[in-house]
C-alpha cells in the first residue's frame, strides 16, 4: 500500500488525563493511553464503558472536557473551556475513523466515496486521487465495484470501502469503532483479514472491538475499560490470557464462555 513509513519506535499518540461528561454523567475519567508508531492498540470493555468515546475524542468528533492529546510531530492539544475550534479540529487530520455503521455516502459511488476527501480536502487532482483509490480498492478486492453505489454492496463490502476511504486520507492513525459489529457473522472474516493485513503492514491503529480472539491476534497492547476508567492495560497476551484485575477477569471470561 502507499504507506511506506517504516514502523519506528516512540509514541505516535499520547493521551493523558482525558475527562468527558455528558451532563452529570461522567463517561471518561482520567484516561491515559499511549500508542507507539506501528503498533495496534485494542480497546475492550463492556458496552457503555467509554471506549467508543475515547476513539471519538481522538478524531475530534467529541470534545473532551479536560486532558491532553498529542500526536508526534504536532502540538499537544490541551482541552478545556478555552481550547479553540481550530486546535480541536487539528486532531482530525491525523487520524481517520472506520465506523461501526460504515457511514458511506449513499449518493456517491464507491470511487467517489474514496476520493471525496483527497480531492476536496487535500486538493489532489482527480486523476491522481482516482489512481490511488483504485489501487486501494484492488487491495481489498473491490476494484470492480468502483462504480457501484453503497446500497448495492453487502455489509462486508461496504465496510471494506469504509476502510479504504479512511486509508485514502493517509492518516498517521487508523481508528476502528467496532468495525464488524453490524455485520452478518459470515462477512466478519473478510473485514478482519483486511484489518490484520494493515496491521502487518505497519499501520498504527486503535481498535474498539468485541472480538477478543482477533484482538489477541493483531493487537500489541490491550486496554480494558469499564465505567469510564482504564482498569487494566498491557501486552495483549497478558491482559487477555492472564488479567490481573478482577473486573477484567470477569469480562474476558464472560466473552470467551458465553453460555
Amino acid at each position: 500500500m502507499s504507506h511506506t513509513e517504516a514502523p519506528s519506535s516512540g509514541p505516535l499518540l499520547k493521551v493523558s488525563g482525558l475527562n468527558k461528561s455528558f451532563g452529570d454523567n461522567e463517561v471518561l475519567s482520567s484516561i491515559d493511553l499511549q500508542v507507539d508508531s506501528g503498533q495496534v492498540l485494542a480497546l475492550i470493555g463492556p458496552s457503555g464503558s467509554g471506549k467508543t468515546t475515547v476513539l471519538r475524542c481522538l478524531n475530534g468528533l467529541e470534545q473532551p472536557d479536560a486532558g491532553t492529546v498529542a500526536f508526534s510531530g504536532g502540538p499537544a492539544v490541551t482541552f478545556g473551556a478555552k481550547t479553540s475550534k481550530r486546535e480541536k479540529e487539528s486532531l482530525r487530520t491525523r487520524s481517520a475513523m472506520v465506523f461501526q455503521g460504515y457511514n458511506l455516502f449513499p449518493h456517491k459511488t464507491v470511487l467517489q466515496n474514496v476520493i471525496e476527501g483527497p480531492v476536496q480536502v487535500q486538493k489532489r487532482s482527480k486523476a491522481d486521487a482516482t489512481q490511488r483509490a483504485e489501487r486501494l480498492l484492488e487491495r481489498v478486492g473491490l476494484a470492480e465495484k468502483r462504480d457501484n453505489y453503497p446500497h448495492e454492496l453487502s455489509g462486508g463490502q461496504q465496510q471494506r470501502v469504509g476502510i479504504v476511504r479512511a486509508l485514502a486520507q493517509e492518516p498517521s492513525l487508523l481508528l476502528f469503532d467496532e468495525p464488524t459489529s453490524a455485520l452478518d457473522p459470515e462477512l466478519v472474516g473478510d473485514v478482519l483479514s483486511v484489518i490484520k493485513e494493515l496491521a502487518e503492514e505497519g499501520w498504527t491503529m486503535v481498535l474498539v472491538t468485541h472480538e477478543l480472539a482477533f484482538a489477541r491476534e493483531v493487537a500489541d497492547t490491550v486496554v480494558f475499560m469499564d465505567d469510564g476508567v482504564v482498569v487494566e492495560q498491557g501486552p495483549a497476551e497478558d491482559v487477555l490470557r492472564a488479567p490481573t484485575q478482577e473486573r477484567t477477569q470477569r469480562f474476558v471470561h464472560r466473552l470467551l464462555n458465553p453460555f
Binding site: R92, F99, H107, Q120
Partner: protein, 222 residues
C-alpha cells in the same frame, strides 16, 4: 340542461392561456426561485446554533406562516406607499410570494437536513471536511432528495396562489378570467375554464415532480 357557449370557450381560451404563460408561470418561477434561496438562508440560520440568527429566522417564519398571504400582499402593495415606498404590481407580487415561499420552504429544508443521519456529518469530519464543506457536498444533496415531495407541494400551491396577484392589478390567468367574465357576463363558464387551465398546469407539474423523484431516488440509501 346548461347551454354551453362553445364559441366563448374557444375565444377565451387563448387570452386565459396566455395569461398563464405570461403571468402565472413567470410569477411562479421567479417567486419560487427567490423563495428557495431565502429559505436556504433561513434554514441555515435556524440550524446555525447561533441564538440570534436562529431567533430571527424563527420570528420570520412564524410571522409568515401566521398571517394570510393576501394580507402580506396588501401590506406590500397598498401599505408600503403610505410610508413612502411605492412598488409596482409585478415586483410587489414577486416580493410577497417569495417572502411567503421562503417562510414555508425554510422549515421543509431544515427538516430535510435534520433527516440526514448524524453519521454522515461525522463521516465528512473524519475525512477532514469542515462543517460547511460537509453540508454542501454531503448533507444538502441527500437532503435535496428528501425535500422534493414537500417542496413540490409548495410549488403547486404557489401556482394557484399567484391568482391573488390579480388583486394588485397583475395581469395573469385569473385577472384575464375576471375581465372576460365581466365583459361576457358568463361567470360560470369562464371561471370553470380558468380552473381547468390551472388544473392542467398543475398536472404537468406533478408529472415533472414524479420524474425528478425517480431520478434522484438512486442517490438515497435504501
Amino acid at each position: 340542461m346548461i347551454d354551453i357557449d362553445w364559441t366563448l370557450v374557444a375565444e377565451s381560451f387563448w387570452p386565459l392561456f396566455r395569461g398563464g404563460l405570461t403571468g402565472t408561470i413567470p410569477l411562479t418561477l421567479a417567486s419560487f426561485t427567490l423563495g428557495l434561496a431565502l429559505a436556504l438562508v433561513l434554514a441555515m440560520m435556524r440550524i446555525s446554533g447561533n441564538r440570534l440568527f436562529s431567533g430571527i429566522a424563527r420570528f420570520y417564519i412564524s410571522a409568515i406562516r401566521g398571517t394570510p398571504l393576501l394580507v402580506q400582499l396588501f401590506v406590500i402593495f397598498y401599505g408600503l406607499p403610505s410610508i413612502g415606498l411605492t412598488i409596482d404590481p409585478w415586483p410587489s407580487a414577486i416580493i410577497a410570494f417569495s417572502m411567503n415561499v421562503g417562510g414555508y420552504a425554510a422549515e421543509i429544508i431544515r427538516a430535510s437536513i435534520l433527516s440526514v443521519p448524524k453519521g454522515q456529518w461525522e463521516a465528512g469530519y473524519t475525512i477532514g471536511m469542515s462543517r460547511n464543506l460537509t453540508l454542501r457536498r454531503l448533507i444538502l444533496p441527500q437532503a435535496a432528495r428528501v425535500s422534493v415531495p414537500p417542496l413540490s407541494n409548495t410549488f403547486i400551491s404557489l401556482v394557484k396562489d399567484t391568482s391573488l396577484a390579480s388583486t394588485i392589478l397583475v395581469t395573469e390567468l385569473f385577472r384575464e378570467a375576471q375581465q372576460i367574465a365581466a365583459f361576457s357576463q358568463e361567470f360560470m363558464l369562464v371561471y370553470v375554464e380558468a380552473a381547468v387551465i390551472y388544473w392542467v398546469f398543475c398536472l404537468v407539474l406533478s408529472m415533472i415532480q414524479d420524474r425528478l423523484e425517480r431520478r434522484l431516488d438512486r442517490y438515497v440509501a435504501h
